[in-house]
């Protein structure tokens, strides 16, 4: 029974941690990527053992130019892909010529 209780706690902890990580990646991609990079860099520092440095290196987020939703024609916010920043089309207001 004791073993089941430990396994149960472990499974729940892992599932909740994954959920928190996933939700953060989807909802605040830039901030979560920054936090991940900071953590990975901290683990990767030279004082740590070689295997821990490898873990830190593997944890470094993949570089993308932009995060978030917005594949054109996707019809959804559910299948997002990183979009290069150059494709952003900001609104630019220019004063009209006087008529």
């Amino acid at each position: 029974m004791m073993t089941y209780a430990v396994a149960q706690a472990l499974i729940i902890a892992l599932v909740v941690a994954w959920s928190a990580w996933y939700a953060a990646r989807r909802l605040v991609p830039t901030a979560s990527r920054r936090a991940q990079a900071r953590l990975a860099t901290w683990i990767e520092t030279s004082q740590r053992s070689a295997w821990l440095r490898r873990v830190g290196h593997a944890m470094q987020p993949v570089q993308t130019t932009s995060g978030g939703c917005g594949t054109s024609g996707c019809s959804t916010c559910g299948n997002c892909a990183p979009v290069p920043r150059v494709e952003a089309q900001p609104l630019v207001f220019r004063p009209r010529a006087k008529r």
């Binding site: 909740v16 996933y22 939700a23 932009s66 978030g68 024609g73 996707c74 019809s75 559910g78």
Partner: protein, 609 residues
């Protein structure tokens, strides 16, 4: 060696709705969205294919443009790529210009303009099958000679319809066409070329004219549009019920089976009260979402949507928008994000901004689970007038409420703007097309996959987090209230209740509103989880019907007509407008409207009850 660096780079360019993306899909094997109206593609897309000779070809699909003198942000992308000014993109080795064979009078002008760029070109005469059906005869050999570039016939929507183009591109890179001189009137040049190379019995299709006489009629047309929209929402309720019941029963029995396998405890609660109760409550809405998209896809393929835009132009103009806003707003029925992005085809920046601001008021498919849950719980499933489903009528009314609110907000924005100028609608009306069952089936499959990925992704993650917050900390020894009251989520819910009590929301609803900001369907799964943890065994619909008043249900429905959009939509507005101020203005006015409208609804409904 880097394949993309060594590959032949071709750019697919042409007028809007000439079939560029369909051709791109044929060449690269991708499934980018295609539809029968102008302005579907608003970004550059990239794909690869291997030619029969083994050569790698990199294909760029560009937004449609009528001219290189770009008038809207999407046309600017095409112009910049063609001129080699697009950041990080070299000038294409070859331009494949796609022209609608049934409408060369319009499309050839752009072909001649592109020829002035001095790049190797191939002309793909698309929709050759439709041209043949209409008796349009094109002397391709003569056209080729006249334009000085290879001319290949294609049928981009048919499997293998681009084979001749692939074979041609593999054989030769194209030709450097003679550029028309600067002083030459391109329209006159087009007329001269058409006189030599094309014979057509009439300029427009006979069937199109006959249908347009009805659907573009100022009175009959509006009646047809109203009937079409009304039927869609009737079908959403009437057709989905049996499948929904089957899904609900399947999930319930699966949940019971899994529950029996595990001893009582937190893990069992996570699976039963969290995963099965939460996700199951959302999953049952899949049939309704698919029925809605069945109609949207069929309308998109048929060519009816631009007609609807034309019909509504006068009404939209009065509200401060133009018919050009219709397609982005219609896209917002699926999701506000592609709708906001589709505003790139709007030329006037102020019209574009207004459309962006009102797009979240269109009822996106994520709201459907909330609406249908409450309608099923509170509106009796009976027929009105012997034909109409009452629940369908209420759903239709909610969609109409969103549309009317969007028009009202646009009208107010127009009043607030100093610039009151109006812009005439210039829109191409495509030929009608019978929707292809295979394309519809693929579209529905993709839509189902998107929904299921959302359920298995963000909705699952947030449901698990809410279960955790609703389960811990555990109640103190000797506690008499339900355990959830002592949890973190319970305490937050009771705090939020102070803010939302005037709207008739209980603390369970108040909790569900927060994860609902991430994705609106999560509000349903959150309610299911919270009620399951409160010891309610019945289905969510039955619980809601038993425990909420009609005034509360109406108030929540109204809240979701206006409710602040999801975070992804806010991020898209930020990116498209490059302004946090506009994000806050949009979120603020939507929140204010939602609160005010819900407050009024609840207070009036309570007083009348």
């Amino acid at each position: 060696m880097n394949a993309s660096a060594a590959a032949l780079r071709i750019a697919i360019v042409g007028n809007p709705n000439s079939g560029k993306t369909a051709l791109f899909n044929q060449l690269t094997g991708t499934r980018q969205k295609v539809a029968n109206y102008a302005g579907v593609t608003i970004e550059r897309k990239e794909g690869f294919y291997t030619a029969p000779s083994g050569r790698t070809v990199r294909v760029l699909d560009l937004p449609g443009a009528y001219s290189l003198a770009a008038a809207s942000p999407d046309e600017e992308i095409t112009r910049d790529v063609c001129y080699g000014r697009y950041p990080g993109e070299a000038v294409p080795d070859l331009i494949v210009c796609v022209a609608d064979a049934t409408n060369l009078r319009l499309h050839l002008r752009f072909v001649l303009e592109l020829a002035r760029l001095g790049r190797p070109m191939v002309l793909a005469l698309n929709m050759m099958d439709a041209a043949e059906r209409r008796g349009i005869r094109i002397d391709t050999a003569r056209l080729q000679q006249r334009l000085g570039m290879p001319v290949v016939g294609t049928v981009a929507v048919r499997r293998g319809g681009a084979a001749s183009l692939v074979e041609r591109l593999d054989r030769e890179i194209g030709a450097l066409p003679p550029a028309p001189e600067e002083h030459v009137d391109l329209h006159a040049e087009v007329r001269a070329i058409l006189a030599e190379t094309v014979s057509a019995p009439r300029r427009t299709a006979k069937a199109d004219d006959a249908i347009d006489r009805i659907v573009l009629h100022p009175v009959l047309g509006l009646a047809v549009l109203a009937v079409v929209m009304f039927l869609i929402f009737q079908a959403v309720f009437s057709w989905a019920k049996p499948v929904q019941d089957a899904i609900a029963a399947g999930i319930a029995s699966l949940g019971a089976g899994v529950g029996n396998l595990l001893p009582q405890g937190a893990l069992q609660s996570l699976l039963i009260d969290g995963v099965f109760a939460g996700l199951g409550a959302v999953l049952v809405f899949l049939p309704q979402i698919l029925i809605l998209f069945l109609f949207i896809l069929a309308l998109e393929e048929s060519g009816y949507l631009p007609r609807a835009a034309f019909l509504l132009d006068r009404m939209m103009l009065a509200a401060g928008l133009t018919g050009r806003s219709f397609i982005p707003l219609l896209s917002s029925f699926a999701c506000a994000i592609p709708g906001i992005m589709a505003t790139r085809s709007i030329q006037d920046p102020r019209d574009r901004l207004t459309t962006i601001m009102v797009a979240p008021l269109m009822t996106c498919s994520a709201r459907l689970p909330v609406y249908t849950l409450l309608i099923a719980a509170f509106i009796p499933a009976r027929t009105v007038g012997g034909v109409f489903n009452l629940q369908g009528i209420v759903l239709f009314t909610l969609y109409v409420a969103g549309i009317v609110s969007a028009l009202a907000v646009a009208w107010v924005v127009k009043r607030l703007n100093r610039d009151k100028s109006e812009h005439a609608l210039m829109m191409e009306l495509p030929s009608y097309r019978l929707p292809h069952p295979r394309d519809i089936a693929i579209g529905l499959y993709e839509r189902a996959m998107i929904f299921l990925k959302r359920v298995g992704g963000i909705i699952l993650a947030l449901t698990v987090l809410l279960w955790f917050l609703s389960s811990f900390p555990a109640p103190p020894p000797g506690a008499t209230d339900p355990a959830i009251d002592y949890s973190l989520a319970g305490r937050i819910g009771h705090l939020l209740h102070l803010v939302f009590a005037p709207l008739g929301f209980n603390w369970q609803i108040s909790i569900a509103l927060i994860p609902g900001l991430a994705a609106r369907e999560v509000a349903v799964s959150s309610l299911a989880t919270v009620y399951a943890l409160s010891g309610n065994e019945a289905g969510l619909s039955a619980i809601v019907a038993a425990q909420w008043s009609l005034a509360t249900a109406l108030s929540l429905l109204v809240w979701y007509v206006y409710a602040p959009m999801c975070i992804s939509t806010l991020a898209t507005i930020r990116r498209e407008t490059n302004s946090w101020r506009r994000v806050w203005i949009t979120a603020g006015y939507l929140f204010g409207l939602a609160y005010l409208a819900s407050l009024l609804t609840y207070q009036i409904a309570s007083a009348l009850a």
